[in-house]
């Protein structure tokens, strides 16, 4: 099942490559069909997923597990190398499968009008889809790493070829930043590999679930919990945690490792912005839980204060930066930084509410930021401008579009009834609860985090006021007024499901929480064991 989910887009990509250029119109249909099939499969997975099974560190309660030997190499004196094709999901990964397939479908719909080198574009987009799905399902660290690195390749080209004026600069920046993180991840992975042995075969293994079990570490190995080896006077496990954290935090992103994000978003074409904000940022958050927290649960209590602090700084710093933007797309990009700060804050609390809130925030942001970028893209498609001060009084000429923008803005600033409300409220409540529960992060961080909610309202409402209300005045004059048409059917079709889903989740959060609770509690227990 998961294999299908991962490789359907790859098959579609191959199909796109083999269909001649003369039939280039077919590419988008192939991509759309692939995403829709994937979406149906993901819904099936969601429905049949048993929320009572926890997963996390317990191999037995993972679901849809597929395990095949992948690499078996005898290295002589170094022992045997063992890596598996090992897929499986628990509550932390399952929601992202659904989110990925949905966002990918929207991304395809929003690239409908694209004209440049369609073959390459759709092939790369589908390849990206495969790699993201792979990251979310892989339980073998080597496999995970391969998919993780594989994401970079298509993205680099998608930004670098189809992007805006400074696309090459943005693409390289994005590439280097992420590479920087993953190089260190590679080191830790190798270190873990040498520390952990498969209890059944005695061989060194990349199996992440084995890495989560302290009994599998060699007695004197680098990352063994018992021996607590030091590197340069610091606990090796601490260094590994921090290094992995930085690798994923670049993706999330956090302040001060976020500067690739505004550039990448501004230069990326709309569909890529959508994918970037909707899914790729979530890979960072997913990595925290799957890798950092699960493999190094004993380090969480030491680092939680710093994580929470970075989270709060990201929330406020991102929001203040958003306030200063005059480019609508950059504003949305910085608002992403702010919103993902809530993820970090909730995660740092290591309380059930905080972690659930963080997960919910990622899903909610996945829907709403996609909607936001999509709306910006609609405007840009029409007049090739997205500076805030170029527009005024859009409500009078595009009432329907204004309604869409206004609802999305309010949804993402946390209006009750929409998913962001539940997400932010519980991230904050969980963070606040932490001091009483486990003493990880102090009360004031939660209180400071609420400022992000206020500032979020400020920059969004200010934008609404400046661009949409008042008397109509456009920089492009009459020509623009004619170009600014109401949304087309295709655009409505791509947009409304996102919003309705956000609304649905806001009203029935149990759709997510029921599938998530067991895993969250299991992770919290895992961390508490070492606290």
């Amino acid at each position: 099942m998961l294999t299908l989910l991962v490789f359907i887009p790859l098959i579609a990509a191959a199909l796109v490559l083999f269909i001649p250029q003369s039939l280039s119109n077919a590419y988008k249909y192939i991509a759309l069909v692939a995403s829709l099939v994937q979406l149906v499969l993901a819904i099936y997975v969601y429905v049949s997923f048993d929320g009572a099974l926890a997963g996390v560190a317990d191999p037995a309660s993972y679901q849809f597990v597929e395990k095949l030997p992948w690499i078996r190499m005898d290295l002589g004196s170094l022992g045997k190398l063992e890596a598996d094709y090992f897929l499986g999901i628990d509550g932390f990964s399952m929601p992202f499968l659904l989110l990925t397939s949905l966002v990918m479908a929207v991304a395809v719909l929003s690239s409908w009008r694209l004209e440049k080198q369609l073959k390459g574009f759709f092939a790369l987009l589908l390849l990206l889809n495969t790699s993201v799905m792979g990251v979310f399902t892989a339980l073998d660290f080597l496999l995970f790493y391969v998919f993780y690195e594989l994401m970079l390749l298509p993205l680099y080209f998608l930004i670098g070829i189809w992007g805006g004026v400074r696309r090459e600069y943005a693409a390289i920046k994005f590439f280097l930043y992420t590479l920087f993180g993953s190089v260190f991840m590679l080191l830790v992975m190798v270190g873990l590999y040498f520390s952990v042995t498969d209890p059944d075969t005695g061989a060194h293994t990349f199996n992440m679930l084995h890495m989560m079990n302290p009994d599998n570490y060699g007695r004197d190995s680098l990352f063994s919990m018992a021996s607590s080896s030091d590197l340069w006077g610091v606990s090796a496990r601490l260094i590994a945690f921090v290094v992995l954290f930085i690798a994923f935090a670049i993706k999330l992103p956090i302040v001060p490792l976020h500067t690739w994000l505004p550039d990448a978003h501004v230069e990326a074409p709309t569909p890529i912005s959508i994918v970037l904000a909707g899914i790729l940022l979530k890979v960072g958050g997913y990595g925290f839980f799957r890798v950092c927290y699960s493999i190094f649960p004993d380090m969480v209590s030491q680092c939680a204060w710093y994580l929470g602090f970075i989270g709060v700084v990201s929330i406020i710093y991102g929001a203040l930066n958003a306030l200063a933007q005059e480019d609508l797309k950059k504003l949305v990009a910085y608002s992403s930084v702010s919103h993902m700060g809530f993820v970090l804050l909730g995660a740092a609390s290591a309380s059930p509410e905080g972690i659930s809130g963080a997960m919910f925030q990622m899903i909610s942001h996945g829907l709403l930021s996609v909607a936001l970028f999509f709306l910006v893209g609609m405007l840009y498609d029409r007049v090739h401008d997205r500076m805030i001060y170029s527009f005024r009084g859009l409500a009078s000429i595009m009432p329907q579009f204004t309604v869409m923008v206004a609802i999305t803005f309010f949804a993402s600033l946390g209006l009750p009834g929409f998913s962001a409300f539940i997400a932010e409220a519980f991230s904050i409540i969980g963070a606040f609860n932490s001091e009483n529960l486990n003493g990880f992060i102090p009360h004031w961080m939660a209180v400071a985090g609420t400022l992000g909610i206020l500032l979020g309202a400020a920059y969004l409402l200010w934008t609404l006021q400046r661009m949409f209300f008042g008397r109509t005045r456009l920089r492009g004059g009459l020509a623009w007024e004619q170009a600014l048409t109401e949304p087309s059917k295709r655009e409505l079709l791509a947009f409304w499901p996102l919003l309705l889903l956000s609304l649905w989740l806001g009203i029935c959060p149990s759709l997510v929480f029921d599938k998530l609770n067991a895993s969250v509690l299991s992770l919290v227990n895992l961390i508490n064991n070492y606290n």
Partner: protein, 670 residues
């Protein structure tokens, strides 16, 4: 009757009362552009009114209706939703539709011909739904959701005329200040959650609830929680210094102002405090009382000089909300709610009267193509002859606001002031400033509302005089008049008590919780009403001489006048002290982001590039000659580097690649 009407039926009825406006909202939201008539909204609110009246009659003083269901489970905690109906919610449940229905009917005539009617009815119904949901919510979390929705609906309605700059600035301001309060609410929720693990009102605040059992042991978190909820109430109920959004909110249609920014939404803060009142300890109560009294005084002093017909009323609302806050602060929840109810009626009435006047002047303005502000009371005058019904209705409203005998306002205001004095007596010492501030505010109230009334309805028709052309006003249309008559009826004493002079016979007050902590000081119960009313009558007379007879002795300027007229300069202070610095900081941070953080990143990249060049240099000059091929390769790389296009990115990439390779080599050899 109880046999037939079970608990369950009553709860269903309450639910229908809440949902009806929501269904109306959906009808407009999904009904497309053709759905313009306000009938759906009006019918919905009428249904709400009938059901809640029925509920009030059958459940008043009898039983607590409570039902709840699991909503979702997060971790191990289950969040519930449900309905909780007790006397407090019954009062509000009746009050909201009772005020809203006349406003709906009034709107038919007032908003006639507006192009955005569909939006208008949609927003209005959404507001009613949120407000009704707020009063029956059984958990603080649900209450919080409705609380925010109320703020959202208010945002939409203030900015209803979205082409007006003032309107859209006002609604942004209103929403942001309310948001600030929401943060307080959220923090309060977080505190309660981390202490008690539940938000259920009955479990927390019931007679044998968690607060009663466990509260007080560790008082500091209770203080913080209390203050957090008070912050929420301060924003929503426009308490000093967060009141500045309310006067600006008058940019919305007047019918909206009357419902939302006078009678219901702004009262939500008072209602919230009444709901969570067991939470408050002395520190919090004293804070509430102090802020309330300052608000009552400050707002009344600003209302003295305002020239806009609606702004006078807006500041009056703020001042009266301050009175209610004091009542909460002195522990008289019942009195606070009683004053909330009477205030809702008379203030709604006054706003509708103002609306009738504005409507008529607007009409004349369009007819004669005048360049005037239809809300300036300086241009009115003499309207009592041409709009006699509106005049009489305004008179009733004004009398109730001033607290003159025979009105409902008299009962609630006297109760409030007497309790305040008794409380000060009990507290002793300098706390007497609270009732004294209220006394002064009450005197100013009589004066400013008399000024308002006399300037509009007495004297000469100043508009005719100023343009030198006869202007003939007409009485408000019947659809606007009758709703006002209904409200005026509710402003009189017999609605609340058979005894026009003594508040202690009021049924509403006796149905709500009251503290018996205070010792009854008999003398207060006669002296205070007598004193206040004498002062009021003297001041009203003074206003009559000044404004009705035109014997105004002052020059209408001077420091105190300006101070009051410019609202103590608070708006400027916020603009200069908060908004400007915030924008400056955000701009500076953005420059920091681009120059420093991104600059550092580029610096690192440059260093990497440098090491790449170094490697190339070593290659060329150290290893050159030894291996020709390597040398050529290095030269090739050097060429590549030198000839790289304007972007240096390729060079970074290359440098990075080299470092990367080195690392992999390193990694494989440890």
């Amino acid at each position: 009757m109880e046999q037939f009407i079970t608990h369950k039926v009553m709860l269903v009825l309450a639910l229908i009362a809440v949902i009806a406006p929501f269904l109306a909202f959906l009808t407009y939201a999904l009904g497309g552009k053709r759905q313009k008539s306000g009938v759906v909204s009006t019918v919905a609110i009428a249904i709400s009114l009938l059901l809640s009246l029925f509920l009030a009659i059958s459940a008043w003083n009898r039983e607590l209706l409570h039902v709840r269901y699991d909503w979702f489970t997060i971790g191990t905690n289950t969040v519930t939703v449900g309905i909780l109906v007790n006397n407090l919610s019954l009062v509000m449940l009746v009050l909201v539709p009772l005020v809203a229905l006349p406003v709906h009917i009034y709107s038919f005539s007032y908003m006639k011909g507006d192009t955005g009617l569909r939006r208008y009815w949609m927003y209005l119904s959404l507001f009613c739904f949120a407000m009704l949901g707020l009063v029956v919510a059984d958990s603080l979390f649900l209450l919080y959701m409705c609380w925010e929705l109320v703020g959202f609906a208010s945002y939409l309605l203030i900015g209803f005329w979205y082409e007006r700059d003032a309107a859209i600035k006002a609604n942004k301001k209103a929403f942001l200040i309310n948001r600030l309060g929401d943060l307080g609410f959220l923090i309060g929720l977080a505190i309660l959650f981390s202490e008690f693990g539940t938000w259920d009102l009955a479990q927390l605040f019931g007679h044998d609830g968690l607060i009663a059992k466990e509260g007080g042991a560790d008082a500091s978190y209770l203080t913080w929680a209390g203050l957090a909820f008070f912050l929420a109430a301060m924003a929503k109920s426009a308490q000093f210094p967060l009141h500045i959004w309310l006067p600006d909110a008058m940019e919305g249609p007047t019918a909206v102002s009357s419902l939302i920014h006078a009678a219901t939404m702004v009262a939500a803060g008072v209602f919230l405090l009444a709901r969570v009142s067991p939470l408050f300890n002395d520190t919090v109560l004293m804070t509430i009382a102090t802020v309330g009294s300052i608000t009552a005084f400050v707002a009344a002093s600003i209302a003295l000089t305002q020239r806009d017909i609606k702004r006078v009323l807006a500041f009056s609302t703020i001042s009266q909300l301050g009175f209610m806050m004091v009542a909460i602060g002195i522990g008289q929840i019942g009195t606070a709610i009683f004053h909330l109810v009477t205030h809702a009626f008379f203030k709604c009435l006054l706003f509708l009267c103002a609306g009738a006047v504005i409507h008529e002047i607007q009409h004349q303005k369009e007819k004669h193509k005048l360049q005037i502000d239809p809300q300036d009371i300086g241009l009115m005058g003499g309207l009592r002859k041409t709009m006699p019904s509106t005049f009489v209705l305004s008179l009733i409203g004004a009398a109730a606001l001033a607290g003159l005998p025979l009105t409902a306002g008299y009962l609630s205001k006297d109760a409030l002031l007497i309790f305040a004095f008794e409380w000060a007596n009990y507290q002793a010492g300098f706390w007497v400033f609270i009732p004294l501030l209220l006394m002064i505010a009450s005197g100013m109230t009589a004066f400013y509302i008399a000024r308002w009334l006399f300037k509009i309805f007495y004297g000469q028709n100043r508009l005719s005089l100023s343009i030198g052309k006869a202007i003939h006003y007409h009485e408000a249309p019947v659809l606007m008049r009758w709703p006002m008559v209904l409200l005026a009826g509710c402003c009189l004493f017999f609605v609340f008590s058979y005894n026009p002079l003594v508040f202690e016979d009021t049924w509403l007050l006796n149905g709500l919780e009251r503290t018996d902590l205070l010792q009854r000081v008999n003398i207060y119960h006669t002296v205070i009403p007598a004193a206040i009313n004498s002062v009021s009558i003297v001041l009203i007379f003074l206003a009559w001489r000044w404004y009705a007879k035109g014997k105004y002795p002052l020059k209408g300027s001077g420091m105190l006048y300006d101070w009051s007229y410019h609202q103590y300069g608070l708006n400027r202070l916020y603009e200069k002290g908060v908004v400007k610095p915030l924008l400056f900081v955000s701009g500076a941070l953005y420059r920091f982001d681009v120059k420093i953080i991104d600059g550092l990143v580029l610096l690192v990249a440059n260093l990497v590039e440098l090491s790449g060049r170094l490697a190339a240099w070593v290659d060329r000059y150290v290893l050159d000659g030894a291996v020709n091929g390597v040398g050529n390769l290095a030269q090739g790389i050097g060429m590549l580097l030198r000839n790289g296009r304007k972007g240096k990115v390729q060079r970074y990439l290359l440098g990075m690649l080299i470092v990367f390779l080195l690392m992999i080599i390193y990694a494989n050899f440890i």
